[in-house]
């Protein structure tokens, strides 16, 4: 799998001939430890070798540079660098040949000699071998397909594999959700595919002639099978690994603030990390084990290449593992364990070689890293504040001000009783060590002192009182400001001295003082989850909703660190449960993201009991709700809890992805789906609009009035808001697949359609007015504008097309819905149906006048979309309606181009056929 060439040297005719026919020369080579070059099998014509041929392939190391410079026995100069042999030729370009591998031989009496297997002979005259590509390394799925295609001279083998994969999928509509059976089932398929492949005469002959070809074919078959099967295979794998993944994600999320130096990573490697991270993050986009392992290797190489200096220091496992740990933590991939399992268990082609090749090593490294993270040996940055201080200390000005402060402290003589300086840092240290009483004592003392000083201020300096008060409110931490307010920087007058001493006392910590990152004592206590200290701090009047520089409240920290007790204390002291931080994350987001079930429960139940409304569907900066996070990281329990409490899985984030899209395993998906029916009950029971909706329907008079009032501007504005709400409800109903409810919202009588399903659009004659026909025409006139759209320009028909609700689409079209309306991305319903492979809807839309060549804002036609997604059914139907296949999208690609880029063979084929037909 590591793509190295292999052949049995002792079977090579060149070597045999040398050993048997020219034993003297051979023995001489061995005793002198000269290097013997053996051209790979097949690169030489099978003719009689002469002594000159052998002499030209024996390298004698030069005296000065025995490592890189050699001469052959025929006195030609040879240099070796980077596994390439260069032979100086008298005429023309120097001859080059790759060293394929080196084999160290030991004779019976343990004399060592080396043999290099080389790609081409070191003699110009001999350059006439059959040029089969025995040496080819497979590095991607495209290589694999190329190999199977070219070696079999046609795509019949590929087709056969595809066919057996389809058969397999038909036979196993649901794959087993346990790794062992899953591996065995797929293994059967692999064996079957391999048998099919080797039935091909060309492939069989070629693989017989060379072992390397056979290895490559095996690998290619495995890759192509994985490529076809991946979408069906990976979800079950994720499901098997759901628990481990969630567990790992929780560990990773809680460490996501980790810094390179927390892991003791060598400084020389720092700058390689971004590149390696970028490479490794692509691992998710590869479908085959081969490509995934290669991705690992590339990441490793990227780290290795970091120290490109001349005196390259060696990268040992001790250096490498921490970097990998860091990469995995920062990668943001939610299913590392599944990826690992996939690579570990579904590598069939290398079974014969044992578990010892380079790929096995890479996979083992990944496993070791994951194990290391999971073992909890890493605790992450337990004290982010320590990190802050350290960075502060490097700032010169801070040191300066501290020195100045120290000198002034002596002159003013504060009541500094304890030997140690009572700075805020000291308090934070105490909090970490859980010395509740000591903290209380210091803080209270300082508080009193400050108060007394306040009174002094009032007596002595009434004039500047206002100044101070205003100063009090601002929490300015910069020392410079106060110095600006003095008469002159070194002034010693009473007024100034007082100002300074007040300033200094402010630096001696109270419950309200903050460090340079805006952390109060309460923040720190919440970070460390010291419930008793939190309690006493709150009693002393600490601000519960104080925010630090990231606009995080103590509640944010308590929930992100999973400290339930501290969290509940804060909540009971009226902490704002929906407070957002700088990334617009609520405490609920933090708790969910870090997988702290206890905190999520605490937040939700507290909100329930105290009748505060927790915004369960609130979005953060990237538009994600807590449910998005729970689905992404695979926290099943939390997802369940959120859904039970009204979280909405079909909300889209800023990437237009719902929670369903993020759910990478079936168990989460099941949780999301199973709870949906409860959910919309919840929605319309709690919704305030229920009443108005009811009257709208029951009271036609009011409806008519509303219609009449359309000209009125105010009424119009209300109308639009109401419309938006209405369309929201309609779309939701459609996404749940509840057509009845959707029709109800739109004022369409669903039963009327349901009853006469087939023969309903035939009137007696176009203008017939008989009762039967009249009833029918009436049906098609709904009271509500059928083409209502929401803020993204999405109409009901869009949704129906997307979810493949053909019945609904039919009803909508009969109600004169616009089949070619565009959403904000310029997509028509046909685009969405093509994207989601909803064949019935596609046909329906096209039959009712949808534009087959409609383009969205990216220039994609529905055909582009279908081939992008590899939707075979959709492509077939679209091609039946004469699309223009020459159209280019924004990226200047035709549909065929996209299919080729994505390697959807069947689609390439379909489009090709269509093009030929034209």
């Amino acid at each position: 799998m590591d793509g190295t060439y292999d052949e049995i040297i002792s079977d090579n005719p060149f070597f045999i001939e040398l050993k048997n026919g020219y034993a003297n020369l051979f023995q001489h080579c061995i005793s002198e430890s000269w290097i013997i070059c053996v051209p790979r099998i097949g690169s030489l014509n099978t003719r009689v070798f002469t002594v000159e041929d052998f002499c030209a392939h024996i390298l004698v190391p030069s005296d000065e540079l025995p490592e890189t410079h050699y001469s052959t026995i025929t006195e030609k100069q040879v240099t070796v660098s980077n596994k390439v042999i260069t032979l100086e030729v008298t005429k023309g370009l120097p001859l080059q040949s790759h060293i394929l591998f080196e084999e160290t031989f030991y004779t019976e009496d343990f004399i060592k000699y080396k043999v290099w297997c080389i790609e081409t002979p070191l003699e110009p005259a001999n350059l006439v071998g059959d040029n089969t590509i025995t040496k080819e390394y497979l590095t991607s799925i495209n290589d694999c397909i190329d190999l199977l295609w070219t070696q079999a001279a046609g795509r019949q083998v590929l087709d056969q594999i595809e066919h057996s994969v389809q058969q397999f999928l038909k036979k196993h509509p649901t794959l087993p959700v346990a790794i062992g059976p899953l591996r065995d089932t797929v293994s059967e398929l692999y064996t079957q595919c391999l048998q099919i492949t080797l039935q091909n005469r060309r492939l069989r002959d070629k693989s017989k002639s060379c072992k390397q070809v056979l290895e490559n074919i095996k690998l290619a078959v495995e890759c192509y099978m994985q490529h076809l099967l991946f979408d069906y295979l990976f979800k079950p794998i994720c499901t098997c690994c759901a628990y481990e993944d969630a567990h790992l994600n929780k560990k990773i999320r809680n460490m996501c603030d980790i810094q390179l130096r927390d892991l003791e990573i060598k400084k020389e490697l720092y700058h390689a990390v971004p590149r390696a991270k970028q490479i490794l993050s692509k691992i998710d986009s590869y479908n085959t084990v081969l490509e995934k392992v290669l991705c690992l290797k590339q990441a490793l190489n990227a780290i290795n290449k970091a120290d490109g200096s001349v005196n390259a220091t060696l990268l040992t496992a001790d250096d490498l593992l921490p970097v990998f740990v860091f990469l995995i933590i920062k990668s943001g991939l939610p299913n590392w364990y599944s990826q690992l399992t996939y690579m570990k268990e579904f590598r069939y082609s290398s079974v014969g070689k044992g578990d010892v090749d380079e790929s096995a090593f890479l996979i083992t490294t990944l496993e070791a890293v994951i194990e290391h993270i999971q073992s909890g040996a890493l605790t992450g940055p337990p004290d982010p504040e320590a990190y802050y201080y350290e960075s502060n200390l490097t700032e010169d000005n801070l040191n300066n001000s501290r020195q100045r402060k120290n000198s002034l402290t002596e002159s003013i003589s504060t009541t500094d009783t304890s030997g140690r300086e009572e700075t805020l840092e000291y308090i934070f240290e105490l909090i970490k060590a859980n010395h509740c009483e000591q903290i209380e004592a210091i803080l209270q003392k300082n508080q009193k002192h400050l108060q007394s000083l306040h009174q002094n201020d009032n007596n002595i300096l009434k004039i500047t009182l206002d100044d101070y008060l205003s100063n009090d409110d601002e929490d300015d931490d910069s020392d410079t400001e106060i110095y600006h307010k003095l008469c002159h920087p070194l002034c010693n007058c009473k007024k100034c001295k007082c100002k300074l001493s007040r300033r200094l006392l402010k630096n001696s910590p109270t419950v309200t003082s903050r460090d340079s990152h805006g952390l109060t004592a309460l923040h720190v206590a919440s970070i460390h989850g010291k419930a008793t200290i939190v309690e006493s701090l709150i009693e002393m009047g600490a601000a519960v909703n104080a925010t630090d520089l990231n606009e995080c409240t103590p509640l944010h920290y308590a929930s992100s660190r999973g400290h339930q007790n501290a969290l509940l204390l804060l909540l009971h002291s009226n902490a704002n449960i929906n407070q957002i931080n700088i990334d617009q994350n609520t405490p609920l987001h933090m708790a969910v993201n870090n997988g702290h079930m206890n905190c999520v429960k605490a937040l939700i139940y507290f909100a329930e009991h105290s009748r505060k409304k927790i915004k369960i569907n609130c979005t953060n900066e990237s538009g994600k709700t807590p449910l998005h996070l729970a689905a992404k990281w695979g926290y099943e329990g939390i997802a369940k809890l959120l859904i039970e409490n009204g979280a909405e899985p079909s909300l889209q984030d800023k990437n237009n992805k719902t929670s369903f899209d993020y759910a990478h395993n079936l168990r989460i998906l099941q949780v999301l789906k199973s709870c949906t029916p409860n959910l919309y009950e919840y929605i319309h029971i709690t919704s305030n609009d229920v009443k108005s909706l009811n009257c709208k329907f029951e009271n036609p008079v009011k409806l008519k009035l509303q219609k009449l009032g359309k000209s009125n501007d105010v009424n119009n504005a209300i109308k639009t808001v109401e419309n938006l709400k209405l369309i929201d409800r309609i779309l939701k109903a459609i996404s749940y697949g509840d057509i009845k409810l959707a029709c109800f919202y739109m004022g369409i009588d669903f039963t009327a359609y349901a009853n006469n399903e087939i023969d309903n659009n035939e009137l007696c004659h176009p203008l017939c007015e008989c009762q039967y026909c009249k009833k029918k025409t009436d049906l098609y006139l709904s009271d509500i504008n059928i083409n209502l759209f929401d803020s993204n320009g999405v109409t009901a028909l869009h949704y129906g097309a997307r979810y493949g609700q053909d019945e609904l689409c039919r009803i909508l079209i009969l109600n004169k819905a616009n089949v070619n309306c565009c959403n904000k991305k310029g997509q028509t319903p046909l685009h969405l149906a093509a994207l989601n492979n909803k064949t019935v809807v596609i046909r329906l839309l096209l039959d009712h006048g949808a534009n087959i060549n409609a383009i969205d804002l990216l220039g994609n036609t529905p055909l582009h979309d279908a081939s992008e997604m590899g939707n075979i059914g959709a492509t077939k139907i679209l091609l039946n309606y004469n699309p223009d296949i020459t159209m280019l999208n924004g990226a200047e690609k035709t549909a065929l181009g996209i299919a080729k880029a994505k390697v959807h063979l069947t689609i390439i084929d379909l489009i090709d056929k269509y093009a030929n037909k034209q």
């Binding site: 002792s10 980077n82 084999e103 040992t316 070689k353 044992g354 578990d355 090593f361």
Partner: protein, 209 residues
Amino acid sequence: MSSAAGGTHHLKVVLLGEGCVGKTSLLMRYIEDKFNDKHLTTLQATFLNKRLNINGKRINLSIWDTAGQEKFHALGPIYYRNSNGAILVYDITDEDSFGKVKNWVKELKKMLGSDILLAIAGNKIDLEHERTVVLEEAESYASTVGAKHYYTSAKLNQGVEELFLDITRDMVDRLEQNAQVKETRTSQVLVIDDETPVQTSCCSGARHN
């Protein structure tokens, strides 16, 4: 782990030992004369494949270097499972590193039993004058646990090749023995199988022990 596909033995050896005892140096020294490549970037210092041909037997030797730091100790099992051999390296000037070797031996014996071939290597013999690990003690310990003992110096290139060559030959011997035993065992079991199935489990169980 042990396979002879196409007449080639694929063997895996792990290097274990405390940090700074010179595991990686040993490895690098062993491959140093493999390719005169100065570009170490193309070589992984943590994984090495070497093809050997000892007396006509083809061997594909994979050498895995492991992390020596204490914090990675728990990852050992992931690395050494499926290994045919383990080379336990200590620094002759560092008593602690020898203690660590003893721990490794204990762990390996517990986890893998006698499936794995052990070799103990005292590295840095160029620093003989600073030796703290008593020579006799090390050798007698090695013989009690059934491991061979070697002296190496990665710096002076002493004993490195011998170490790897020796353990490779031992592993090949072990592998071939096992293969034979397996063959004879299966044939014996088959014979018994025909007679009384009840006794089979009994007998084969006894044999396993």
